[in-house]
């Protein structure tokens, strides 16, 4: 058989096998927590030495405005904020959800998870930058 035809058959077989593999039952580990997820959670969470959760929440909202995010929804009692931002010239879209809650008596915990073009962001640098903006907004006093 001609080598080219063999290659073609192989290619087609691969394509077909892809069809068989997809669209099956949801994976068993769908809701279980993996090590990677635990790590991401630690990047996404930071505790601040502040008792007043509402103040921290407002600091987060101000930080988001500083970063040019559009605050879509905010819920004070739940400590919840969702926001979004388009990239330059409308390319790329980042969405995020922030939850602010009490951590013990003295601290407040901020958890953020962000999506870039609907895919979760797993780069720790991104979350570091976000918390830098929150810290500035919380502790820089303004006239």
């Amino acid at each position: 058989m001609n080598a080219r035809i063999r290659l073609l058959i192989l290619g087609l077989a691969l394509l077909l096998s892809a069809c068989v593999g997809g669209a099956q039952k949801p994976p068993k580990e769908l809701l279980s927590l993996t090590d990677a997820q635990m790590k991401i959670r630690s990047f996404q969470t930071r505790a601040f030495d502040a008792k007043d959760q509402n103040k921290v929440l407002r600091g987060v909202v101000a930080a988001l405005q500083d970063l040019g995010f559009i605050v879509e929804r905010a819920n004070g009692p739940m400590g919840l904020v969702t926001a979004g931002k388009f990239g330059p010239n409308g390319h790329g879209f980042v969405q995020l959800t922030v939850v602010v809650r009490a951590k013990g008596e003295q601290q407040t915990e901020v958890r953020v998870n962000a999506l870039f073009n609907t895919k979760p962001i797993e780069d720790p640098k991104v979350y570091q930058n976000f918390f830098i903006a929150v810290e500035r907004s919380l502790f820089i006093t303004r006239g």
Partner: protein
């Protein structure tokens, strides 16, 4: 089949390489979304005013009233966070774009392949407003508002393929006059002077 000459192949590679690098440049890096830029402080100054009032609710409801006067619909509000979100719909047709569209259409007819480039047809102007107590003076509140607009394009034609309508783009508005206009109305509405930060 005749093998294409080497030079031609190199040219093809170069063109594809160029196209691909174009794609890479267009997609911004995700880190940049969370970095404060040198413009951040300027934008904050443009978008923020201080008001000498301890009454946050009054500021918020006056802001909502001003936005209503400007033709906005309030879509979201939270007094606990001190936040309002409002939007208004407008046509987005611009003469420049339509002249360009006709010009290209006439040129393309000469080439026997009618091309209709999509133009902006509709826009939504949105405002997000946040009030916050001053860190140094509890009797003052800052109001910060961000205006931005989403634009939707109509349909078009590339000559042999129809371009469906609905391509969307979003841009922030940094025109000082618009912010100035809003804050002038707000300070009249609360009988207070708006102080720059």
């Amino acid at each position: 089949m005749r093998k294409p000459p080497d030079r031609f192949r190199w040219l093809l590679l170069l063109i594809f390489g160029g196209l691909l690098s174009g794609c890479v440049q267009q997609m911004p890096k995700v880190e940049t979304f969370f970095e404060l830029t040198p413009q951040s402080a300027q934008h904050r100054a443009l978008q923020t005013r201080m008001f000498e009032t301890p009454d946050e609710k009054e500021l918020l409801s006056a802001s909502a009233a001003v936005l209503q006067d400007l033709g906005f619909q309030i879509e979201e509000s939270s007094t606990e966070v001190g936040m309002l979100r409002a939007a208004k719909e407008r046509g987005a047709r611009e003469y420049g774009q339509e002249i360009m569209q006709s010009f290209i259409f006439i040129l393309s007819i000469l080439g026997q392949n009618p091309v209709i480039i999509p133009v902006d047809v509709h826009q939504q102007i949105s405002a997000t407003l946040v009030t916050r107590r001053s860190e140094t003076d509890a009797s003052r509140f800052s109001v910060r508002i961000l205006f931005h607009r989403s634009v939707w394009k109509g349909d078009g034609n590339t000559g042999n393929q129809h371009i469906p309508p609905g391509q969307q783009s979003l841009e922030m508005i940094y025109d000082g006059k618009i912010y100035q206009q809003f804050f002038t109305k707000l300070s009249k509405s609360v009988f207070l002077e708006a102080h720059k930060i």
